[in-house]
Symmetry: C2
Subunit: 243 residues, 2 copies
């Protein structure tokens, strides 16, 4: 089985997606926040690419059954219930709710794959669980880094590299493209994921806007066994892997 990696979403083409399992990574913070929400029992998460789309979709639900969630420029959107910090997504807030979620990068990347059968959301927190699940699908894999505002993000590439290295070493996947080789090598250079997040561009941005407290949880390896999957427009808890 082959592994391919898109370093930024602009690299995605129909040809590269074709018949692959897709993994979307947005370490800061969409992947981490989505995983946290699902860990804490939300019903599902509907990603949208714009605030107006989120408002429109919200009209289809009882207001009590949903939460409007997401950020622009890192901060909670005015009138929304929750921002994009994983710490906001506690079980007392999200349990049983449908989350309508829009972020600057991650939710847009996920939506690019609306026609794909298996679209997995991954981050440092659930790497081993992701690897176990995607390996069980016996399919070629395309990992896509979300980046930041159409620019390369180091933390997404390194996280992709960690996942590539688990898939290579434990499940014997083949590094099929230059992107896969590059992130694999990058992962070997950054062994301290918390230091990585404090030094990368997006991490420094979050610290500058007073949200540096999010970096530690986003950096933690394998604290979750849950694999979120994007199916029919919704992200749900697909499996809880027994690793």
């Amino acid at each position: 089985m082959d592994l391919d990696v898109c370093l930024i979403p602009q690299e995605i083409t129909e040809e590269r997606i074709n018949n692959k399992t897709v993994v979307v990574i947005d370490v800061l913070r969409a992947s981490t926040t989505i995983l946290q929400a699902i860990e804490n029992g939300c019903r599902s998460i509907i990603p949208t690419s714009s605030v107006s789309d989120a408002m429109e979709i919200a009209k289809q639900f009882d207001r009590d059954s949903i939460l409007l969630c997401g950020e622009r420029e890192g901060k909670k959107i005015i009138g929304f219930d929750l921002g994009n910090s994983p710490f906001e997504y506690t079980s007392d807030k999200v349990f049983g709710k449908t989350l309508i979620y829009t972020s600057t990068n991650g939710s847009k990347t996920i939506l690019k794959f609306h026609n794909v059968k298996n679209v997995i959301i991954s981050t440092f927190n659930n790497l081993e669980a992701t690897a176990s699940y995607v390996a069980s699908l016996s399919n070629h894999i395309l990992i896509t880094c979300s980046g930041k505002l159409e620019r390369f993000s180091l933390e997404d590439a390194v996280c992709a590299g960690y996942l590539v290295n688990v898939l290579k070493e434990k499940y014997h996947f083949h590094l099929g493209t230059d992107g896969a080789v590059a992130v694999s090598q990058m992962a070997n250079q950054f062994v301290d994921t918390y230091q990585l997040l404090m030094n990368c561009s997006h991490g420094r941005f979050l610290m500058n806007i007073g949200m540096g407290y999010d970096l530690e949880i986003c950096s933690k390896l394998n604290i979750s066994k849950i694999v979120p999957e994007f199916i029919d427009g919704k992200i749900i808890k697909k499996v809880e892997v027994q690793t």
Copy 2:
């Protein structure tokens, strides 16, 4: 002074170019071939984005004063004088001639910077000379990898990383973005540039179409002291650095 790196041309924005010295890298093979042509005394090189543009520009010259040069799918374009192998650009062919040149990736990347004051063409062959020249301009730098068909190319990123590391260590430039940090780390992982070119996707493609003999010269470090520069639509020999 700050260093920024675009890993693929789709990352280029007006904001990132603004007031910077630009360095374009396309190791396989545009940068290497352009440098070879200039080493061997061509008058100038006019990059074009399409075969039809090349034919149109050719009409403005005496046929004897020009050469039509370039490739599609790695091979010489039908009716053209030269393909894209550095070995074709000998002094008996190119001396004193104006070369009209179109390649799949490199020439298109160069043309994106037609409004920029200083646009340098660099490759493994002239890294030290490039570093010396661009440092003398006392300006922030954007290095752009050309990639292959809008996909990330490992060899361009590693070459960018070699250049970044010289600029950092010898001329005290600051790695200003995630892209600069990533390629710097990649360069540390690939110490054998010939092995790199034999293993990367584009190198394997060239071997498959019988052009693997180009890889060795493309891999050689600092065999040239010339710095080609793109000025007013033409690439010329800007300086011959005394390193």
